[in-house]
Each structure stands twice: as C-alpha cells, then as structure tokens.
Symmetry: none
Subunit: 225 residues, 2 copies
DNA sequence: GGCGCCTCTTCAGGTTGCTGTCAGCTTGGC
DNA sequence: GCCAAGCTGACAGCAACCTGAAGAGGCGCC
C-alpha cells in the first residue's frame, strides 16, 4: 500500500516513515506543500498523512485542492498539540481523521490497518493506456508482459503525455517537462525523444496532431488510417 | 515473552518494567552493563531495551558484543533526547530501532507487540528477491544457502533498495538512508557501496538506471533493451 | 599499549550509454 | 507540386557511473 507522508519535521518524519515502512507499506515523504502537490499529481495513494504547518504554505489548502479534484484519498491530519481550531478547520476541509502529536505509532498503525482493510487492492495502481501498463509510482512500464526500460528523458516525455490521458499535449509543454526552466534547446529534441519513445512503446500509441501537439492513443485498435 | 531492560534510571526503569509486566511479559531489569552481560549469558530474550548511558560503561559496547556473537535478538535503544550521534552510532553497532526519551509507553507497547508477532508466529518474514533470501528483521541475507555478511552501510543500501522492491530508488534516497541527517557526503560514497554490495550479492541483482536511480532486479534473466 | 583487522571514506582513472545536434528524409495541407 | 511540420538514424561529447587502491579511524586481541 502506498502512503504519502507530508511532514516537514525531520525527526517525526523519519520515525513515522520507518514505522510505516516496517509495516510493509511504501512511503513517499514530502517535506513541502509543493512536493506533496507533485506527488499526488504523479501517484495514487491509499492514504495521506498530512501535517498542517509547513514552511511553504498551509496544509489545509493542499487538502482542499485535493478534494476539489474529487480525489477521495483518505487523509489523516497530524497536528501539533490539540488545537481545536485546526481540528475543526481540517474536518471542514475534508480530512477523515486526526492524530495529535506526539501520537502513538501503534495507533497510527491501527488506522493504517483500517485503511488497508478497505484498500485490498494491488500494491500499486497501474494505469492501462492502449495496452501499456504504467506503474507511475515505480516508474515502470510494461507492454504485453515485457518490461520496457525508459531513460530519464523518455520517461519525462511519457509523463507529460500522461498528465491528462486523452488530452492533446502541446510540444511546448513537453519541452517544459523535459527542461525544468529556461535551458534553451535549440533543436528538435522533443521530436527526437518522441521518436525514441515511440520506438519503445509502439509507434501507433502516440498520435501526432500537426500544429497542435501529441496525444496518447487510448484506443489503439480503431485507427482509421 | 522474556524481555531484558537495561536502564540505570530508577524512575524510568520502574515505569517501563511495570508497563511491560502489565502486558503480560516477563521482565529482567539490569541496571549495569555487567548485569546485562550476565543476563544474556544466562537467558534468551525476545527483546532487549537498552539505555546507552550506564554507570559502568557504554551500552554500545554491550550491543557490539552481542552482535559479534551472532546474537540477533532485537535491540531497541533508549536514548535521552534526540541525539543523532547516538543514533548513528547505535545503528552502526546493530541496533534495530530507537526510542527517544521521554517516550510514549504506548509506542513501546506497539513495538513489543510487533516483536511478539514475529516471536510466536513465523520466525521472520523472509523476502526472496532474485534468489536472495532477505530476512529483514534479523538483518541477514542468504544467497543459495550461503549466508552473506553485510556491513552496516551495505545493509543500509540494501535496505533502501528493499523499501519498495521492484521500484526505482533514487541515489538521493539511498544517500538519505546512509546518512540519517545532513552529514554531507562529498564523494561518490553511494556508488562505492553499491559496488561493494554488488560484489557480494551478485552484480546483476542491482540494475542501474542512469539518471533515475537503482533497482533490485527481480527478474535477473530478462533484460529487454 | 601495540598490533592487526575491519570498515568507512575519498580519490583518480577508466567505462558506459544517455543526450543533444544535425542532416536528410517523410508526411500532410493546400 | 510546394512548403512547412514532423520523423529518425547517426554520432560525438560528456555527465553519470564504476571500481581499485589507499588513508583514517575504530575495535578487539594479545
């Protein structure tokens, strides 16, 4: 089961992370709101443990964004002391439960077990697009049972296409995904990587829309040429 | 279940002893290193709770002696405040876990319960990856029947790779696992340990994914290009 | 205390294979 | 048929990575 821990305090984070890991779950640890946002954009979690007070913003905003996107991932808020204002605001914003620091790791384990009981699915959610099985969390792609090994850049391109499956992704936004900021690419790098990606995952799975962008084909069979 | 408590502080000792006893376990309470040595020579414990600062010596010495005799009894170190030097030294010496004083007795109970689960039931969950048998709890690794002895750092690297078997683990997170807190490593230490680990468990079992990280190969044979 | 052994860390030199670029080609729109 | 947009094979460069060696430090044994 995959769990996202959002917590800036190193000591608490380590303790919780280790404890959860010992229970056999995979833990991603975000130390900032921005990291948490990235994480939930990329992976599906069975549970989110959320500290409200983070250096770069309020955890409640993160929680509201999540719920606004109709993401129903269970969220347990970790709060310092028993602050009722926090508590009420948290529940209003869509939190499922509360743990007051310093909390009992045993209690945490119990709650996790409760979630696990509900969540008796596979270890990682696998997105299937056009016969491609994409394990986003583990960064693995399988095609007809065979694992496909992607390089960092190739993955970045696939990632960009995956951001909104079915949508048209412009060449510019793929370029942004490849080169964090301002690194001027002076050639047709994006096209090169699209080419390489296609070679690995199958040519027909990425559709070119001239002048618009690219699209992951989710219906590979029907493709009138 | 028989538990050895090594602690010189009277108040803490009594509180812990009573709490454990209330859970139905047998407790031996050693107030000095010498007493602890005698106790482990005489009895087998399911768990040892160890305070590092004792009047007649350092608890780390006791711990090292224990491990040197291949005694894999789980040891939880009880440390005053959150002293990272202690923590790192302790983990290097073979401690399984940490509790920072003043600790929550509920948390202690949870850890004891975890040990008890292992103790009464199956010995230890053994994870098999690519022909490697990894007994996570006992920190032992077997390859084709032969035990492989790993140093603390080598184990830490393997541990990091094991956190999510099959997943890609970034070099950064391996580094985090090696150096609990901020100790900047200025060289390629991670690579060096990966190299050592590979030499011990077989080169092909750890796959490098340039720019992404490393991966424990669970299918060492197939290597699709 | 002296000695040997082991582990950790750093460094340097060697290797690998990803990356970006280019050139020449194909494709689609008009 | 023409042109712009897109595709892809080839290749050099270089960052990322690997590993042997050696110094530093700790620990146990005598």
């Amino acid at each position: 089961m995959r769990i996202l821990l959002v917590e800036d305090d190193r000591a608490i984070g380590e303790a919780v992370r280790d404890h959860i890991a010992a229970l056999g779950h995979a833990v991603d640890w975000a130390r900032r709101i921005s990291e948490a946002d990235e994480s939930v954009a990329v992976a599906h979690y069975a549970l989110i443990l959320l500290d409200l007070h983070l250096p770069d913003g309020n955890g409640l905003d993160f929680l509201r964004r999540l719920r606004k996107r109709s993401d129903a991932t269970p969220v347990i808020v970790l709060t310092a002391r028993d602050q009722y204002s926090d508590r009420i605001a948290g529940l209003n914003s869509g939190a499922d439960d509360y743990l007051v620091k310093p909390f009992d790791l045993g209690e945490l384990a119990a709650r996790i077990a409760a979630v696990a009981r509900r969540y008796n699915g596979n270890p990682d959610p696998v997105l299937t697009v056009a016969g491609l099985e994409i394990d986003h969390a583990a960064r693995r792609v399988h095609l007809e049972g065979q694992e496909i090994v992607l390089t960092a850049r190739e993955w970045a391109v696939l990632d960009a296409l995956l951001a909104r499956p079915g949508a048209i992704v412009s060449k510019d936004s793929i370029e942004d995904a490849l080169y964090a900021f301002g690194s001027e690419v002076e050639s047709n790098t994006v096209e090169v990587y699209l080419s390489r990606l296609r070679k690995k995952i199958g040519r027909e799975r990425i559709v070119t829309l001239r002048g618009l962008g690219y699209q992951l084909a989710d219906t590979p069979k029907r493709r009138s040429k």
